[in-house]
Amino acid sequence: MGVPEHVLLRQAHSAYERGRLRAALPTVAVVAPMVALSVVVCGRAVVSLSVGMLLALVLGGALWRGQALGGGARAGLAAGAGALLLPMATCFHLCAGGVCLMAPSACIAAGVLGGAAVALLARRREAGPSAASAAYLGAAVAVALLAGSLGCVIAGLGGVLGMGAGMAVAVAPIVWWPSRAA
C-alpha cells in the first residue's frame, strides 16, 4: 500500500533537490583539473586548494539553486577558465628566464577580459536591471573571479586583487550603460 499524499509530496521534494545536486556534480567536477593545474603551475598548493574548494562550493550552490544563479555560474565558469589560463601562459613564458614580472599585468588583463565577457553575457540575457539579472551577474562574477584567482595565485595576493579590480573596471560600465540609456 502506498504512503499518504503529504508524505509522497515530501519524498518527491527531497528527491528533486537531491536530483538537482546530482545534476550539478559533472559541472562542479570541472573545478578539479583547474585546481590541479593551479597547484602544478603556481606551486602554492594550500591557496589553490582553498580557492578551488570555495569555487566548488559557490558553483555547486548556484547550479543547485538554478534559474539566473545557475545560468550566471555557467557563464562565469567559461569566462573564468580564460582568466585562469592567461596568467599561467604568460608566466610560463617569463619563468623560463626565472622571473614572473608579466603575471600581475596578465591577471589585470584576464580580469578585464573575464569581466567584459560576463557583463556582455548578462546584458544580452536581459535588457535593463532586475533581480534576475543581478543574480545572474553576481553569480557569474563570483565564479569567474574565483576561477581566475586559481591562475592569479601565481602572482600572489596582488595578482588576485589586480584581477578583481580589472573585472570590476570592465563590468561596471557595461552593466551601467543600458540602465543609463533607458
Partner: protein
Amino acid sequence: MERIQREDLQRDLTRLADGDRDAFHPVFVRLWPLLRGFAARHLPREEADDVAQEALVRVFARAAEFDPRRDALRWALGVAAWEIRTSRRRRYRRREEAMPAALDRADGAPGPEDAAMEAERQAMVDDALAALPAADAATLRAFLAGGGSEVTGATFRKRVQRALGRVREAWRMSHGRP
C-alpha cells in the same frame, strides 16, 4: 490529457528543470493522477499505487535533467514505464524464487507459470486482434494459420504488413510498448 493541460505540464516541467521551485506543486498535481492511472492500467491494483509513487519520485529526481525540447508528458510516462517494467521483473523473479521445486516438471512440459503466461499472452493477442478491422484480423489469422486467404503472393504479404502495422499501433496504445 487535453492539449492545454499538456502544454501547462510542458511549461511547468521546463520551469522546474531550470530550478523554479514554484513550479513544483503544479507539476506534482498534474503528474500524480496521471501516473497513478498509467500504472493502474498495466499492473495489478495492489502494486499499481506503489509503483506510481516510485515513478513520481523518480520523475522529480530526474526533473533537473529534463530537456525542454522534449515532450514533457512522453518523458514522464517513459520514466513511469521503466518503473512498471522494473516492478514486473521483480514480481516474476519473486514468483520464480517462491516456486517450490516440486512444481518443476520432470518431463520438460510447460509448468503452471508458463501456462498462465501463455494464456495471458494469448488473451492480449486476442484483444489486439479484436481491436482491428475485421479484414485485418482475418488476414492475420490466415497468416498465423500458415496459409493465405482469398488472395496470395505479394498482395497477401502487403495486407499482412499493413495489418501488423495496425496491430503494433494498437498494442502500443493499450500496453505502452511496441
